[in-house]
């Protein structure tokens, strides 16, 4: 009961029916267009095998898109994810080379990355005056700095051969990483869209102050999301290290751009409080296949940088434009606004009741 009511409050202005999924449909169309173009570029492109194996090239960073979606819905930005991946990867390789068994090293990697996320979160809730941007900017420098201190300009690796299964292995015809990613995506979709925690993420992103007054422990939500981000950065680092076979302190450089671009292109508003996980999931594959196609054309990495930068800015631009008229129309049409106001007031008292219980 309570859950459905909060939902109706948060999505007051949401258009109903198919229009609700405009952005996702647009992304799917783009995705199909990219694939049509790709298939003209290479006669070998349009096979099931290519389709299944191509994601192996970009899925490692896709694990970061899932928590980044939560972060941006919270109204924050995290630029430290690439550095967490690098630090984790370096520490895993170094501890393995120092004699730690590989499974333990992998667990250690996850623990370290989660700790990094925890530190980000603690800093954010202890120093609320500071924006997440500046905090993650400084931890980004610190984490990558530690990686450089440890490994300097060397590389580390010589992992056992089974470790490469993570990134290169197949189960049947399906790549292992694709299976893990699909599972992770399902978990995140459930977490974000059906649980209390997920609804609170949206609520905090909509109006942090109101949340605090209504008894939501916003600090815990922010901390939780940060820890999840750290954990997923750990997974990314496992798959990335496995894909490359060795590691250096400068791995995953600029991942934050890729990840933020994928998330924002997926329709997650940087104003916070809005978005569905389906969008980023589609845009992961859209950008991934786009890069693959451009690779087929021998387009240089620098051009990819430019394209990614443009995509990032364009998608925010388009969102800002599509957001605006919707707000106007809802304020103009008085009839449709009236009942929503009622429900707003009703659940408002509900929230007050909650806080009265809590306090």
């Amino acid at each position: 009961m309570h859950m459905t009511e909060t939902t109706s409050v948060i999505d007051v202005n949401k258009p109903r029916g198919i229009r609700q999924y405009q952005w996702e449909i647009f992304l799917v169309v783009l995705f199909l267009a990219v694939n049509v173009v790709n298939s003209f570029l290479s006669p070998y492109y349009l096979t099931l095998d290519t389709f299944l194996s191509t994601p192996m090239n970009f899925l490692d960073k896709a694990f970061l898109v899932l928590p980044m979606t939560m972060i941006i819905i919270l109204g924050n930005i995290d630029v430290s994810v690439g550095s967490i991946v690098a630090l984790t990867s370096v520490l895993m390789a170094v501890s393995y080379n120092a004699g730690l068994p590989m499974p333990l090293a992998m667990v250690l990697a996850l623990v370290i990355s989660t700790t990094c996320g925890l530190i980000n979160g603690l800093l954010q809730i202890k120093f609320r005056e500071l924006s997440a941007t500046i905090i993650t900017l400084s931890t980004m420098t610190v984490y990558r700095g530690i990686a450089y201190v440890i490994l300097e300009d060397r590389s580390a690796g010589h992992f056992p051969s089974w470790f490469s299964f993570l990134a290169w292995g197949y189960i049947g015809k399906v790549p292992f990483i694709l299976i893990v990613f699909v599972l992770a995506a399902i978990v995140f979709a459930i977490l974000l869209h059906t649980t209390r925690f997920g609804r609170m993420v949206f609520a905090v992103g909509n109006n942090k102050t109101a949340c605090e007054y209504s008894g939501i422990r916003t600090g815990r939500i922010i901390l939780g999301v940060s820890v999840i981000t750290g954990l997923m950065a750990g997974f990314t680092s496992l798959f990335l290290t496995s894909r490359m076979g060795s590691t250096r302190p400068n791995v995953a450089l600029g991942y934050e751009l890729d990840v933020i671009a994928m998330t924002v292109l997926g329709g997650i508003s940087t104003n916070g409080g809005k978005g569905r996980i389906a969008g980023p999931l589609i845009s992961i594959f859209l950008i991934g296949f786009l890069n693959y196609g451009l690779g087929l054309r021998n387009v240089s990495a620098q051009v990819l940088l430019i394209i990614l930068g443009f995509l990032l800015i364009l998608s925010v631009l388009v969102q800002n434009f599509t957001d605006r008229p919707r707000q106007k129309s809802s304020s103009k049409s008085g009839k449709s606004a009236a009942p929503t106001h009622q429900s707003d007031a009703g659940s408002g008292s509900d929230i007050q009741g909650n806080s009265a219980q809590g306090g």
């Binding site: 005056e129 924006s131 900017l137 420098t141 700095g145 600029g254 940088l305």
Partner: protein, 369 residues
């Protein structure tokens, strides 16, 4: 909360004993005088924390210098000091722009790329026509920077894109363009005219040109930010964007101006950088934005907006310049640099917050009495 309670009970208690109050009108006068006095004392205390902060920075610089001097006697030699100042000049020029951006609650990650693009375009022009005047190159680089800054400013001010998103995007676009324009090649010393190289390496009246550039910019900037209306508007927009708009400040124009100036300075710095190192590469000044942000927040510019002083960023860049210069001198591996830089940013922003909290507490005390 406590102060509010006292405020609420205060007037009502007074209301009950209004007659008494009227009688004691004489005796309340010294009370109000005492209140005013304690208020002004709290104010000076609050102001002092800002001064303390700069004093602290200055003392820290001295302590660091002494330590470095003990570890390496060459540290405080005249030539090294000159080197250090010249090396800090570009950083300090950029902190001027970054200070304005951060005062308006923004951030600019694109300046490293802007520097690279401006440096690359001017050095390519110089290598194609060696006869070109160095000042024309300077103007060209600044024009490139201005254009980049203008784009960011329009995106942030008029299209409501978060500064971090806009500048992250531009950072990559500009970097990619630098590689594309140069086709991945470098412009090396032999392709540059002597006049162009002397922009940074030359001296005027025995002082490095770089230092003179920095001094001129700081004088203009100090006048601009402290004495002109527009300069004060920048602070106003940073401390409270809504209020600024209510009193008729064109907030968007100020934000556009701030990013444009940042771009302009980055363009200038890019030309100076390329001229100084006599080489323009695709990866010129990669990650330099972090140094600039570090020096700026170290100088006491608050990332929550509205606060920052010219003297602060000057000290901040000098301290950062000393760190960058001294670490190799005392045999600390360059690989520690990024780590230390990160710690410096973190320590600076946290100490800024703690100082600010202390200031607010003092201000609250003023209200209670």
């Amino acid at each position: 909360m406590q102060s509010q309670d006292k405020k609420q009970t205060g007037p009502s208690a007074k209301g009950q004993t209004r007659a008494e109050n009227r009688q004691d009108a004489l005796s309340t006068r010294p009370e109000s005088a005492a209140r005013a006095e304690s208020a002004s004392r709290a104010e000076t205390l609050a102001r002092n924390t800002e001064t303390y902060r700069e004093l602290g920075l200055a003392i820290f610089i001295v302590i660091l210098s002494v330590i470095f001097q003990i570890r390496n006697p060459k540290f405080l030699s005249l030539s090294n000091i000159k080197d250090m100042l010249a090396n800090t000049a570009i950083l300090s020029i950029l902190t001027v722009g970054m200070m304005m951006v951060i005062i308006t609650r923004g951030i600019d990650l694109s300046i490293g790329s802007t520097m690279a693009l401006a440096g690359m375009i001017t050095s390519l022009t110089v290598s194609a026509n060696p006869g070109i005047s160095p000042f024309l190159s300077l103007a060209q680089g600044m024009a490139v920077g201005l254009a980049a800054g203008l784009i960011i400013g329009v995106l942030v001010a008029y299209f409501n894109i978060l500064p971090i998103i806009a500048t992250l995007g531009l950072m990559n676009i500009l970097r990619g363009m630098t590689y594309l324009i140069s086709k991945g090649k470098w412009v090396s010393a032999y392709q540059m005219s002597a006049g162009f190289k002397s922009l940074s390496t030359g001296t005027t009246f025995g002082i490095s040109n770089l230092i003179i550039f920095a001094i001129v910019i700081y004088i203009i900037y100090a006048y601009f930010i402290n004495q002109t209306k527009t300069g004060r508007y920048i602070y106003a927009v940073g401390s409270s964007p809504d209020t600024a708009e209510l009193i008729g400040i064109k907030r968007r124009r100020i934000i556009l101006l701030v990013y444009t100036l940042m771009g302009l300075l980055a363009g200038l710095a890019g030309v100076l950088w390329v001229s100084k190192f006599a080489s323009a590469q695709g990866d010129t000044a990669v990650g330099y934005e972090l140094n600039v942000i570090a020096a700026t927040v170290l100088g006491g510019v608050s990332v929550s907006g509205g606060r920052g002083k010219v003297s602060g960023i000057l000290l901040g860049s000098i301290l950062f310049g000393i760190l960058a210069n001294a670490l190799p001198l005392i045999n600390i591996s360059p690989f520690w640099q990024q780590f230390i830089q990160g710690l410096v940013i973190l320590a600076a922003i946290i100490s800024n917050v703690l100082l600010q909290r202390r200031n607010d507490r003092i201000a609250l005390k003023k209200r209670v009495i």
